[in-house]
Subunit: 398 residues, 4 copies
């Protein structure tokens, strides 16, 4: 019933291919802000449904449009000229019998709190205006969907892989370093970051964009020396992750001679013309990896009960991680899950696992095949456990 | 200067892999509607800039949020309960010296005309309300950007591949069949379609969703027999494309016993709760192919002069097509282009071509390598020609 | 039960007072556009309710915000830079049992048709964007309201007077002249007009503002000679209405020496920065008369069944007209109606009629008092007939 | 140059007329909220202009649309179902040379702070969503307007009167009592109030509507006894103001038998379906007085430098107050001011003062005529002083 297929795949692992491009949009990138808002709204609705009815009802809030504002940053000051506009979009069950749920009020509150909690230099009251167009879903869809039966709401597809390549690790850990170490010690560092690594052979260009908070920077010298400092910290960290040759570039669009720096009032580029929307940034593993198979399903904001577009992307990642962790000699592992609309979510149309063995060893493959099948079966059996992890924000979704 | 690398890649072509999932969202799918609107707005701006100033000025209108309306379809009738809401978003140069360009008026007009022209059963005047938040871009970005110098506006990445697998062809041609043949003869067929093929080994499940126009359908029998007719036509067409076993499914969420059919008033699911946004649907080749490398850059709506996120995706596709057309014994070809911010767009950071030769033949590869390099060089030299094709809507972008 | 009081009022009729100011905003003035849209939406809803349920259900769509666009008019051409934004606001019954009424779709359609029908030079598809926030009313209010019982929905007040003073007639007929005669023969004349008369003693300044349609005007000479022509026609007409001294001023803000003229692309000043909203323009008799008692209730958009704010303003006007028509020696007549919430609408808290007799003649008053009481009683008895007149747009409301 | 005319007017003072209707919408009534927001935005802009440029630049923010939300109040609790939507509208100078002023950011901040400061039970962050469509004004209008020359921006009209009738005083002081005394001691009292007095002969019906804050009310008994208590306090206060017979009615739409009470979560009826907009509520003296001459100009939000629609309404009130205060034997006084577009604001087209003397005494009139002329002249000479009072919020505007 679970249609699990495990096969050996003879190919060159990404690690050994000539080129590779990997990107991560940090938490304050406009697309990530949209993702984070959409997911927060969904989580808030989940909690309300559970509180009121004991189970999560139908909803999908996986659209959110951010329209950039305008600002005039300046060393030691700066001003917001136009508030950012945020439009929350989606569907949610609001009428249960005669009980009316305040879905839009919950959404606005959740979004507002998310902004307040995550973006230290944004005044969520006045630097942002927000509108909410989360409507009641269509009757037909709601009748298909009964969240308690856990049937797939769509024919949808998820994909995951493991392990990360060095370049991928480098991107992820550089982002971690910026937000969890450097930003903590340097209030000048904003929340909007982008880390892009392009590897060609053994050379990696690591390009980092960081929105700086202008009020904490007294002048161009301050800015330039901070940039230098950041660059060194990133490089120090990078050499711990990889032996490849690394060039680090920070804020490459700066033109000090023309007085152009990456300055912001709020630490967020959406303050000044950058728009964002859900599903256009990081995949569920936190990365954009065009050299890897990716699903285009937006994970953030989808309901964590029956939306296979969310569940299968998260589950395939978990399966891939477990396989690599528990089985030996695996160089690379890809997990593809396809749902069947209307069937229980633990019975996919297929669960296709492809492993690239170290040295393409056939015998190694035979020795892990059964284990892999067991892992997949077990994870599918326990797919329900994802829901709780999601509602408690224990799983990365962007 | 062009950093062209051509290499042989020993792997199993998608065609021969065990599983494959391919999808196309038809022109009326909410995400495609968003793509189409964004691109139409950009094209209209391009034409205005050319008319007024002789060249295309900075703009990116690659965001558009569609918030689904509500409807009450019924056999032989049906009514729109809530208009669809469309928010156009982006940046465009509106002030040139003292000359003020009517960018928002142009955008609204272009969007309105696009809806009128493409969706026969939609009343663009009253079934839709539209708002336009396309603002003037930030000064800094505009100063980086000088469209006449053709410098890359960002570090961005494009990818293309050729040829299409049978499954991919099947999806594309099934969509063509529906819109260019079946719809022409059956006014009951709406514009919102989705074609998804999942291949496992030699078996292909071809799942098709078609929004039906209820006013032209007198009852459930009419609907069911039309579905049967469509299914047969699709199957007849499919067997011309592939010898694999094909199962065709049409509107699988129907539940005739509960009176649930895929009915719409306008032929568009956005009338009833389906939201859409740019860049979440088809890639520039018209397909969603999670088994293939894909770029997450939204192509539609970006300016066709310096936005490498648009140009490199379109160009890499053209290069891949030419290579497969002009060189023999190539089983599969992938083209990866990475830009360097601030450098001329015809000087990428790398142009990495990977070819899978028939039978992994090394000698065949050696005999085509030079030709391939020549093709890439030539296409890069002529990247300017893309712009005109885009402005004249001669290139597929979604 | 009808609490009718008729009294003689010894005062100086407006006609004979030293000063007087009277104003009319023409059909295309932004406040009038808002009024017209609000009323059209209400009428469309009325018709739908009657069609579906046989009677008019609760609604009030008496708010509409017009946010001016931007334009760049020019002799012989001109362009819309920013579409006008129109926000329809209000409450309406949308759910009757399980039947869902498309109130917002009806509203958008009615508004769009109103614009198309009334404003020849406006492209309602693209010069305007529209949004509709007409929601379901609150339960409590809807339970108070039962349109079939015709109970007053509020403690509200209406006032009417007759006859018009010469100055008032002059304003009304000047507006008629412009729209029904001059505009018919001069396509250069826009729909947005304002006529203001200020009388001081026997001298009347008649100030007229007319938005001109620039594409039909080839240059400043054309404009200036048209203005002269209009001025003469208005003066010719004015001397038929009054013997007082009249100065006519047309578009007084023009500064030909600085190339400032009252030019528009659409014939509507809302195209270029003029905002408008319901209830800030003409009273139900078509005039703004600060020297007369006026109600501040917005008449347009209110439901014509139980909203006393609408009905009593229209009814008091009808009563005043009838009294002056049917009774002799009346110099001026004021009718004040106050409702009692929850009581039948034909049983006001008071109907207070004040008449100023010619020469303050007591005996004349005594001879008409009974007749007046009869008129008031009769009109109240037949208040239901107002509804049909309103739904058929037979009564002026602004 | 000042065109001052003072005349005796023989008529019956409002005080002695048979009927009278007077109304005041309290600070939390939706129309008053709109007024208060519009005025706060204007004041904030004034302060910014003064700070940046030393003088107040052109702006008018005299439109604001409030779209009611939805709520589900309940004794001891209650919940907001839909946030209120607030649209700020208007024109303001945003570009001065190359300096860009953050007019929309200032507006949103001012509006947000106004809500926070004035409405204790509203969570301005999450019970409200706000949008700002205050655009740059049209070039033509801005060129007419030069705030430093203090020329009238329009042909406009203002009117004021004094003294207040007993009924008018009663309404004003009842509103004061509720907000400044009763509310202070009873947190159950909301900010949204409406006081309406209808006098017929010597009988006054004083109808008061007060939105109650449900979380502070434990049950219907609590509510009913509070209502009784309020009613008594109002009555106790009323008898100090007038000897007429007074009936006080509080929340007359209540139907305890059907469990209908005037409950709100926020103390504001806009939370549940009540819309509001600028200029539809109180006149500048704080009252709606249909038996008195009134201007329909919205005072709130207009610029306090050249907008005669604002200045003349406030000035005529000041003049009337001074006349009654300084001259004896005056029973009633009306002041009418008409501007001339383009002329200095202290040179009206006419300043027409009408006084009703006690006992219609001609000799008394002759003895005060000169004084009155002096007062008018002096007030016109000092019209500039209004601006500062307005910017410091020292003058009532609604």
């Amino acid at each position: 019933m679970k249609n699990i297929y495990v096969e050996e795949h003879n190919t060159i692992p990404v690690e050994k291919q000539k080129s590779e491009v990997v990107e991560r949009k940090g938490i304050g990138h406009p697309d990530s802000v949209a993702d984070g808002l959409a997911e927060s709204v969904s989580v808030a609705l989940c909690k309300e449904y559970i509180k009121e009815f004991g189970y999560i009802m139908h909803h999908n809030t996986d659209e959110c449009q951010i329209v950039g504002g305008q600002s005039e940053p300046a060393f030691g000051g700066g001003v917001i000229l136009e508030p950012v506009y945020i439009l929350l979009v989606g569907r949610a069950t609001s009428l249960v019998g005669k009980k009316r749920l305040p879905i839009r009020a919950i959404a606005v509150r959740a979004a507002h709190e998310y902004l307040e909690k995550n973006f230290a230099n944004l005044d969520a009251d006045t630097d942002v205006t927000m509108e909410c167009k989360i409507w009641q879903g269509s009757e037909a869809l709601r009748s298909v969907y009964d969240s308690r039966k856990r049937k797939a709401n769509d024919t949808s597809f998820g994909v995951g892989f493991a392990p990360l390549s060095e370049t991928e690790k480098l991107v992820l850990e550089t982002d971690n370093l910026i937000h969890n170490v450097i930003k903590k010690n340097n209030r000048e560092i904003g929340d909007d970051t982008k880390v892009m690594a392009s590897r060609f052979g053994d050379n990696i260009n690591l390009t980092v964009a960081i929105a700086m908070v202008c009020k904490y920077l007294k002048d161009a010298d301050h800015y330039m020396s901070l940039k230098e400092e950041i660059k060194e910290k990133i490089l120090d960290n990078a050499v711990k992750i990889t032996d490849k040759n690394i060039n680090v570039y920070v804020n490459t669009a700066d033109m000090p001679e023309n007085n152009v720096f990456y300055l912001t009032v709020t630490g967020l580029s959406m303050e000044n013309g950058d728009d964002g929307s859900v599903g256009r940034g990081n995949r569920a593993n936190g990365l954009i990896t065009p050299y890897r198979p990716m699903s285009l399903e937006a994970v953030c904001g989808k309901n964590p009960v029956t939306h296979v577009g969310k569940l299968y992307n998260l589950l395939s990642q978990q399966i891939a991680d477990s396989i690599v962790e528990e089985c030996s000699d695996i160089s690379e592992c890809y997990v593809y899950l396809l749902s069947q609309i209307g069937k229980p979510i633990d019975e996919p149309s297929f669960a296709d696992v492809r492993v690239v063995m170290d040295n393409n060893s056939r015998s190694s493959f035979n020795s892990v095949k059964k284990d892999i099948e067991g892992i997949v079966e077990d994870k599918l059996d326990n797919i329900d456990s994802l829901t709780e992890l999601i509602v408690n924000k224990k799983l990365r979704t962007f």
